[in-house]
């Protein structure tokens, strides 16, 4: 035979799991990581076409254990440990979507999404448009994001703005256990591709989880009502922003905190309604200021309700620097003090 051949070991046997797997049935207190795990499990129970793929998501359960036990429960044809190549993880998900699957790809850390960037912005984002709706890309890309964990380079980044500029994608960032659970289910059920950003440094924070889908993922929510300043945030900074609102209240300032949840599209109706009331806007995120989501929100709100603005909107963000060394990250990340300083500024204090 003329095949240029060499012996191959056997392909891994892919057997379906035996016992039926149960989802969350009652309100439970879960960490953010466990809530995502529960949401993934439910999505996999609901739809046999949901498959997970990524690096170390099987036996290890992911470096953050977000996919713990899912390999045992669903088998290796539903929870796929892939070779180490992000472009291929995304590109393979595209092919699975072509074949009617609903893939959920895990990117191990924020900084490792860039080798997969081309497949995301040139293929995942564009295929539905390119084919005039003939090919759907119901792909969810899970990305632990953000800093504050004292990690090495590339492990603390906030790349979300890159994806909000790529038309065709939806972008979600969750802040607590309930949304972690509900929104991963919504993201997976969505017929559009969704980048789902997980607030890495809040993985271990517990919260009550009602096993429901909840508010549509496109909706922003007011997590702390107020009247004088609108404070827009998402992901890990929601907790910091709530703390800031409490601290501000102590100083007699009334801050309304909005958790965006959806970064693309942004629920401008909700932000606008708040700013029409308060007349003042502060936006905070960990990502660099220039080209970050903050600028987009400030610009859009200025366009929509310029006449209601009583002061220039303020951004409290990471600086325009590569993510710094762990010992310096507190000088980069917005914290309670810097957010309060922003609130002061917008109030002219």
């Amino acid at each position: 035979m003329t095949l240029i051949d060499r012996p191959m070991s056997h392909a891994p046997v892919r057997t379906p799991a035996a016992a039926p797997v149960a989802g969350l049935t009652e309100t439970s207190t879960l960490t953010v990581a466990k809530a995502i795990n529960a949401g993934l499990r439910q999505a996999m129970i609901d739809d046999p076409k949901v498959v997970l793929l990524g690096e170390d998501i099987g036996a290890l359960g992911g470096v953050f254990r977000v996919t713990s036990d899912l390999l045992a429960q669903f088998g290796p044809h539903r929870v796929i440990d892939t070779p180490l190549a992000e472009s291929a993880i995304i590109g393979t998900a595209v092919g699975l979507a072509y074949r009617g699957y609903r893939p959920v790809a895990e990117i191990q850390f924020d900084g490792f999404i860039f080798p997969g960037f081309d497949q995301i912005v040139n293929q995942v984002a564009k295929l539905h448009y390119r084919t005039q709706g003939a090919v759907r890309m119901p792909i969810t890309i899970r990305v632990p994001f953000g800093g504050g964990i004292g990690a090495a380079e590339h492990h603390s980044e906030s790349p979300e703005a890159y994806f909000t500029h790529a038309s065709g994608l939806r972008v979600i960032a969750v802040s607590d256990a309930q949304d972690a659970y509900s929104l991963i289910r919504q993201a997976i059920a969505c017929d559009d591709p969704v980048l789902y950003f997980e607030p890495k440094r809040r993985y271990h924070v517990k919260g009550e989880v009602v096993p429901q889908l909840g508010e549509p993922m496109e909706r922003a929510v007011v997590v702390s009502p107020g009247t004088e300043v609108t404070l827009v945030c998402y992901g890990a900074l929601v907790a910091t922003a709530r703390d800031a609102a409490l601290a501000a209240a102590d100083e007699g300032m009334s801050v309304e905190v909005i958790d965006l949840r959806s970064l693309a599209p942004v629920d401008y109706a909700a932000v606008e309604a708040s700013v029409r009331k308060t007349g003042r806007l502060v936006v905070t995120h960990e990502a660099a200021n220039s080209g970050g989501l903050g600028g987009e929100i400030v610009a859009s709100i200025t366009e929509r309700c310029f006449e209601y603005l009583e002061a220039a909107p303020v951004r409290v963000t990471g600086f325009d620097i590569p993510y710094p060394a762990a010992k310096l990250e507190r000088h980069h990340l917005p914290d309670l003090d810097r957010i309060l300083a922003g609130v002061d500024r917008v109030l002219g204090r």
């Binding site: 035979m1 191959m8 392909a11 190549a85 291929a88 595209v94 081309d118 084919t131 119901p138 065709g168």
Partner: protein, 379 residues
């Protein structure tokens, strides 16, 4: 002039001699003279499509066209080996493959006329639309094949790409994934000796076919201008895939006899002697010579083929010219599969803006805007 490597499998010599081959011949047992005639018709027709589309481009009806001239055997031989339920993930040059899959002639040129970003519904012909990002489609094929394996189906994904594409990370990652998961995919590389202006020696100092075995994927190197060698190799690869033996890599050694696209000028970089040498290895003439040897090349047969090619060309031309311009607001369609507040707002605003123009048609004049009305450009 560059020497032509002939270290490949050949069943049909440039002179049209049928050369026996113990391993490959069994895969062609059903290819009788009628089948050869059908392959010949395919090759003549797709060459004619190519010529017509090139003419349409020269006449300003198409913005661009990537000719397959010289690669007819590689495309017809492989595409005619496929089953309906297989799935093709091509680059931009696989117009011959698309023809075999049943893509409508007008659909073939829609994208090059600039009427749409792709010409057909992939599901209807089980062939994705052209991938312009070099190599990206090889991963899609691998993912599709993984799904087929999960489904227990015996359908196969076949992905086409060029010699230049083998340098891209994506193609190599596709080999890694395909080997790791042992999925039913055929990597079909048309080594047409050029990536635009760069000869294949810039991409690789070893044969392209020797790449795959190092990834644990067996490979075949065939004369890509020999429709029979190509077909047999593809059938072997498909059979391996269908029977659970995983991926196979095929290098079809051929030659891009035309420019890279109609926007290209090969005289800047190509030795005319090379072209002449490869002309003597023409895939269509070669099959024609075999049919002649077999006594099948009657005037009736030739007339029939010519008529068919003429009819196809006429249909292509008429369909191309009749293609309607897409309506203005369709620019917003299908960005998302589900409603999107931000985009809806932009659509509404733009609709209002267009409606604000007094003169019919309700579109901006953009007199000073130097946007070409017919597309041009490179690939």
């Amino acid at each position: 002039m560059t020497a032509i490597s002939t270290d490949f499998i050949q069943l049909l010599s440039p002179l049209g001699e049928r050369m026996p081959h113990a391993d490959f011949d069994p895969w062609l047992a059903d290819i009788d003279t009628a089948a050869l005639a059908a392959l010949y018709e395919d090759m003549v027709v797709v060459r004619r499509i190519d010529t017509e589309a090139t003419a349409l481009q020269r006449q300003g009806e198409l913005g661009l066209w990537p000719p397959l001239l010289g690669q007819e055997a590689a495309q017809i031989g492989s595409a005619r080996a496929l089953r309906d339920d297989d799935y093709v993930f091509p680059s931009y040059r696989e117009n011959g493959v698309a023809y075999c899959r049943g893509v409508g002639l007008t659909d073939l040129v829609k994208v090059w006329r600039g009427s749409a970003q792709s010409g057909w519904d992939p599901a209807s012909v089980r062939m994705a639309t052209p991938a312009i990002i070099i190599g990206a489609q090889t991963l899609h094929a691998t993912g599709w094949a993984l799904g087929a394996r999960f489904d227990g189906a015996d359908s196969v994904a076949v992905t086409y790409f060029g010699d230049g594409a083998t340098s891209e990370g994506d193609v190599n990652e596709a080999l890694v994934f395909a080997a790791s998961f042992q999925v039913p995919v055929v990597f079909f590389c048309q080594n047409n000796q050029w990536a635009i202006s760069e000869p294949v020696g810039v991409q690789a100092h070893a044969d392209i076919a020797s790449r795959a075995p190092g990834f644990g994927i067996p490979s075949l190197r065939v004369d890509g201008n020999d429709v029979l060698a190509v077909m047999a190799a593809t059938r072997i690869a498909l059979d391996r895939a269908r029977t659970g033996n995983g991926p196979t890599f095929i290098e079809a050694v051929t030659y891009r006899m035309g420019p890279h696209t109609t926007a290209d000028d090969p005289t800047r970089y190509r030795d005319p002697a090379d072209l002449a040498a490869w002309g003597r290895r023409d895939p269509v003439l070669r099959l024609r010579a075999l049919l002649e040897r077999l006594g099948h090349l009657t005037p009736e047969f030739e007339a029939q083929i010519a008529a068919r090619a003429d009819a196809v060309a006429a249909e292509l031309r008429a369909g191309c010219i009749a293609l309607p311009d897409p309506p203005a607001l369709s620019v917003f369609d299908h960005v998302y599969a589900t409603p999107h507040a931000g985009l809806d707002r932009q659509r509404d605003e733009y609709a209002g803006y267009l409606a604000g123009f007094d003169a019919a048609p309700t579109e901006p004049t953009a007199a000073t805007q130097p946007v070409a009305s017919t597309p041009k450009g490179s690939l």
